[in-house]
């Protein structure tokens, strides 16, 4: 097909950095919006971590010894906000620029191609997510919610989470026709946020349910970050990483196959 021949392989995106430059130019004036994004997970950490923490008392950590509820919930909130941020950037944000602001129509009349746009926007979402993750991890350290130096690996892990969900979110966006379709994205992300052991351990679920929830993506993300923050390393973490890599890979593959439908008509 001619349309697919117009697209080089997705990896070839020589001008993707220009998209990042454009976004930096925009946020240089509206940096307050960028900064404000950092506060939302922080409010949740303080409200849920300490507020509900006082009601719950200590929690039995995965390896049996007691940890504070704040230390338990913080990695869960980091994973959830990494997911939510990546989904927002790769769905609403892309769709808005695509259909309403027509930002990409203008960019496509320049030497930039679709791959530059896709890779550029995912890169920008990752940069943003990384900044937020650094801020959140710093707060966790200051509040004494970190149990192990392995937490340093939580940063690349959070980036991996952002990548996996951004790729899948962008793939989903290639099927979105109107704003009402975004309800389906909520139908997926809200239950993930609420039920994936962010706020309480999977042990509250009875058995068949526990296994089902434990194989959902956000549960794997939370398992990964929580284990690193608490310093409980196990081979399962490699499974978590592989899970997210496959998820991101499949998402990117779908994006590269369908992106022309999104933009070139």
């Amino acid at each position: 097909m001619i349309a697919t021949r117009m697209l080089p392989a997705l990896g070839f995106a020589p001008r993707a950095d220009r998209l990042v430059e454009r976004n930096i130019m925009n946020y240089r004036r509206t940096w307050i919006v960028l900064v404000s994004g950092f506060f939302e997970p922080l409010f949740y950490l303080l409200g849920i971590g300490f507020g509900i923490g006082a009601l719950v008392g200590n929690v039995t950590g995965p390896d049996g010894h007691a940890i504070s509820y704040g230390a338990f919930v913080a990695p869960g909130l980091l994973a959830s906000s990494a997911m939510n941020g990546a989904i927002y950037d790769s769905t609403f944000n892309i769709f808005f620029k695509l259909r309403y602001a027509k930002t990409y129509d203008a960019i496509l009349s320049t030497p930039l191609g679709i791959n530059d746009i896709a890779v550029g926007e995912i890169t920008w979402a990752l940069i943003r997510g990384t900044l937020y993750a650094i801020g959140f991890l710093a707060v966790m350290v200051v509040l004494g919610l970190v149990q192990s130096p392995w937490v340093i690996l939580a940063l690349p892990a959070a980036m991996l989470i952002g990548f996996a969900f951004a790729a899948v979110g962008m793939a989903a966006t290639t099927w979105v026709r109107s704003w009402t379709d975004f309800d389906y994205i909520f139908v997926v992300t809200l239950p993930l946020f609420l039920f994936s052991s962010t706020f309480y351990p999977l042990s509250v679920y009875p058995e068949p349910l526990r296994t089902i929830v434990s194989i959902t993506p956000l549960s794997r993300c939370i398992d990964l970050l929580r284990s690193l923050a608490l310093g409980e390393l196990s081979p399962v973490l490699l499974v978590d990483v592989a899970y997210l890599l496959v998820m991101g890979g499949v998402g990117l593959w779908v994006v590269s196959r369908r992106l022309d439908k999104l933009l070139l008509k």
Binding site: G47, G51, L55, T180
Partner: protein, 272 residues
């Protein structure tokens, strides 16, 4: 045949200044888009109450929290709080972009003002519509609460009223504010720095006695705290008359002052 233009019989402006017509317009628009709000109206309360009530609840009750919650399970404590807080969130999202858009984007308010509809008609029609929306959302939420068995007393049904009043205590001042805005960048700030903290720290999830002493008076000033306390007092059957008067008074004050400000900002924006 020649048609002769005859003047229409002059009609006196209606008592409500056209508020009923504005309400009807809003309802007509909603009939076209209601499907999009089904998920947020019905499904998300189910998910929220299941996750927070049952999931988090069983976890919290496993600790020794029941005493500080007044002797009830966490779900029964939390549900009326969420009922009131949902009113706040619904009101905020119905009174920000929509209002500014009516002045700046599609200019529907200017269109209304070009007819016999008065400024007061627009403001009160708009607020009446938000009241209807809040009632729908709160009723749906209450039905889900009831189904889960999270309602502690028959008076709990009046939590719907508490939720609507909480919503209006936000809708009126936010509507007034949004009418004066020229672009929408400030609204995401309102959600991040007002709505989210109020949702988390106004007694919805935990008694405000747990907040540091210095912050507590701030919570007392917010409509969310009073709405949550009202809904919870009704649901648990612990509301004392004096407390009820104070809560209603504070919410009423926000609504009246907010509506008065909205009359001013709408008039200013419409005559610009």
């Amino acid at each position: 045949m020649t048609a002769v233009a005859r003047p229409l019989p002059a009609r006196r402006p209606s008592m409500t200044g056209g508020a009923r017509q504005v309400f009807e317009y809003k309802a007509m628009v909603y009939r076209r888009v209601w499907r999009g709000s089904v998920f947020s109206t019905f499904l998300s309360p189910v998910l929220f109450l299941a996750a927070m009530g049952i999931g988090l609840g069983s976890f919290v009750d496993g600790g020794n929290a029941i005493a500080s919650l007044g002797g009830v399970p966490y779900a029964v404590f939390l549900a009326p709080g969420l009922l009131a807080a949902q009113g706040m969130q619904t009101a905020a999202s119905e009174s920000t972009w929509t209002i500014m858009g009516g002045f700046v984007w599609d200019r529907t308010f200017h269109g209304m003002y070009a007819t016999p509809v008065s400024v007061a008609g627009i403001v009160f029609g708009q607020l009446a519509w938000v009241t209807a929306r809040l009632t729908m959302v709160a009723t749906a939420f209450f039905v889900v609460m009831l189904a889960f068995g999270f309602v502690g007393s028959p008076f709990g049904v009046f939590g719907i009223v508490a939720s609507v009043l909480t919503g209006l205590a936000f809708a009126a001042p936010i509507t007034a504010f949004a009418a004066g805005q020229k672009n929408d960048s400030v609204f995401s700030m309102i959600f991040r720095f007002f709505i989210t903290p109020l949702f988390l720290f106004s007694g919805t999830f935990f008694p405000i006695e747990q907040l540091p002493l210095i912050i507590r008076p701030i919570a007392w000033l917010t409509p969310t705290f009073h709405g949550v306390a009202l809904a919870r007092g009704l649901s648990l059957g612990t509301l004392d008359p004096l407390g009820a008067v104070v809560h209603l008074g504070v919410l009423g004050l926000y609504i009246v002052i907010g509506a008065a400000c909205a009359l001013i900002t709408f008039r200013r924006s419409l005559s610009r």
